[in-house]
């Protein structure tokens, strides 16, 4: 993953900015992980359901 801390090399940051970005970054990571898990699981479930439909009606 690229550097999403908000820091461009050579740019100074304040401690407040560092703290705020770290919090946002943590929340984003958790949110992204949850989103991928939920929608990945939905995609797999729909694939299996479509196969079950095939079994049921054939």
């Amino acid at each position: 993953m690229f550097n999403r801390s908000g820091l461009v090399p050579g740019r100074r940051e304040t401690s407040r900015m560092k703290q705020a970005n770290a919090t946002i970054e943590d929340m984003r990571k958790r949110g992204v992980r949850r989103t991928v898990t939920v929608f990945g699981a939905i995609a797999i479930a729909i694939f299996l359901l479509s196969l079950l439909q095939g079994l049921k009606y054939s």
């Binding site: 908000g6 090399p9 050579g10 970005n21 729909i46």
Partner: protein, 538 residues
């Protein structure tokens, strides 16, 4: 603007690898991956277009002229597969990749490595699919709908199924990435109902993709096992049912149509307000209309199967449900017109394509309403009327919107203005010849010419000749498009401003042109008045 302060020109291209292989093959940068998608889709557009040229050349005159019937069937099948999965869908993913992070103030897509994988699956999928044309036994020739038992007769079923699986995996990963980006990566202050309509349209499209691509994967997996593993999902002799495939396929296939048109709605909803210099009329209504169309797309699939022998109750339900789609679609068309009404309009190339979209897509929508009438569909079914209908929706709809979006954002991508003269030449040639190409096909269909045939009755000769001439010239017109892009990327001397268009609003116009390799590394400070939809009250 305060948020522009996040950019330091000194650091604009920090991080862009100088090694060609590393930059383009191992990229995790949303802009580079967006470019890869767009270049790939342009290549596929010309490959699919060359198949269309073969079809129109064969149909130029009655009688078998140039190709054998089996090869003709391969061309119709591959033209559709390449255009749908290789040209239109990747083009929208490319536009989404490039623009969604810029529009919501995110530094990149939520899952950059998966983004790379999503793209790089595609060239392999299409190499697999296109290679079948050179193999003994030939490529798939049973139509892009892959109806069994016809589609199971060829030797390329495994290649086709594996290619479709790869495309599906790519699409699902891309969709998850887009949802994760929009839901988790928006800059503070970018509320859902302040997002650009293009972002909304992609969010809803991504939900559709996740819901239906696995269904296509299931359908083709069953085709594969029927062909090679002795199952009888769709084989009547073994207790299966070929109509079951049609139900499963169209449960995917109809939402797929909206997957190809909803992002086009979003694009046009960005372009028209810019060149009318007015906010979009009824922002919330536009968003809810897209969501309504997406919902309705799940309950109309059997309108593709009216002629298959459905129960009367089913025919009536699917007829009315299909006609219901005209309501939210009508809302959108009226809102685009209302946005233009009283605006200070100018007619740069993106706006010309967007206006052509509104008019010509509406024609495609009206012929769709005609096809939705179950009793009438018995006459129109499998005729050239259907071909005319869906080409108005997909060519003058989806592809015109993609072209409009490309002209709209090309200066932001390249930092240089394209040639407005040649852009307008491209537009007028496209809009004239596309109508010469497809409008006569309505008459051919109403007169009874079936689709997917290499030969036809002499009674259909004149309209077919006109259609073919339109086809050749429309195809040739697209070479102007390539010329305009090449000129803008490498030769144009006219620098683009950061806010390229006078009436443009939104975060993407606050970054420099060309957009730096990394943008919004610090979340931008968002001022509502600078967003296109910053003040949504009703």
């Amino acid at each position: 603007m305060a948020h522009a302060a996040t950019h330091d020109h000194h650091d604009d291209h920090h991080g862009a690898p100088s090694n060609f292989f590393v930059r383009w093959c191992m990229s995790t940068n949303h802009k580079d991956i967006g470019t890869l998608y767009l270049v790939f889709s342009l290549l596929m557009f010309f490959i699919g277009g060359s198949f269309a040229m073969v079809i129109r050349a064969e149909l130029f005159k009655p009688g078998l002229q140039l190709v054998q019937p089996y090869f003709f069937n391969e061309m119709t099948t591959m033209h559709a597969l390449v255009m749908i999965f290789g040209a239109v869908m990747p083009a929208f993913v490319g536009l989404g990749n490039w623009m969604i992070p810029l529009m919501v103030g995110a530094p990149d897509m939520a899952l950059p490595r998966m983004n790379n994988l999503s793209f790089w699956i595609l060239p392999f999928a299409f190499a697999l699919l296109l290679s079948t044309l050179f193999l003994p036994g030939g490529g798939p020739a049973g139509g892009w709908t892959m109806y069994p038992p016809l589609s199971l007769q060829g030797d390329s079923v495994a290649y086709l199924v594996f290619a479709v699986h790869l495309m599906g995996i790519s699409s699902i990963m891309g969709a998850i990435n887009i949802i994760a980006t929009i839901l988790n990566m928006r800059a503070p202050g970018m509320d859902l109902l302040k997002m650009p309509v293009f972002v909304w349209s992609w969010l809803i499209t991504a939900f559709l993709l996740i819901a239906v691509m696995p269904v296509l994967a299931g359908a083709v997996t069953m085709l594969l096992t029927d062909k090679y593993f002795g199952t009888s999902f769709f084989n009547a002799a073994g207790g299966g049912d070929p109509v079951l495939f049609q139900h499963i396929f169209w449960f995917f296939g109809h939402p797929e149509v909206y997957i190809m048109i909803l992002p086009a709605f979003g694009l046009v909803s960005e372009i028209i307000p810019t060149f009318a210099r007015k906010p979009i009329f009824g922002y919330k209504a536009m968003v809810f209309a897209i969501a309504s169309i997406a919902f309705l797309s799940f309950i109309v699939w059997a309108h593709h199967m009216f002629a298959v022998g459905l129960p009367l109750g089913g025919e009536i339900f699917f007829m009315y449900a299909t006609m219901l789609i005209a309501v939210p679609t009508g809302v959108k068309v009226f809102n685009w017109v209302s946005t233009m009404w009283g605006g200070s309009m100018t007619f740069e190339t993106p706006m010309l394509f967007a206006i052509a979209f509104v008019i010509l897509f509406t024609i495609g929508g009206f012929s769709g309403l005609m096809l939705a009438l179950a009793p009438a569909d018995f006459q129109y079914h499998d005729s050239y009327f259907v071909v005319a209908h869906f080409h108005y929706v997909l060519v003058t709809g989806a592809i015109f919107a993609i072209i409009a979006g490309t002209y709209y954002w090309l200066p932001k991508w390249t930092g240089r203005m394209y040639s407005e003269f040649w852009g307008k030449m491209h537009f007028w040639n496209s809009v004239i010849w596309v109508n010469v190409l497809f409008f006569p096909q309505h008459f051919l269909g109403l007169a009874g010419m079936p689709r997917r045939i290499p030969d036809y009755n002499v009674a259909f000769a004149n309209f077919n000749m006109i259609s073919s001439i339109g086809g050749f010239l429309f195809g040739a017109s697209q070479l102007i498009f390539v010329g305009v892009i090449v000129h803008a990327v490498w030769f144009s001397k006219k620098k683009a401003l950061d806010r390229v268009w006078e009436g443009a609003k939104g975060l993407e116009w606050t970054v420099p042109s060309p957009a730096p390799f990394h943008t919004f590394e610090l979340p931008p400070v968002i001022h509502d008045e600078e967003l296109a939809h910053g003040h949504v009250e009703d």
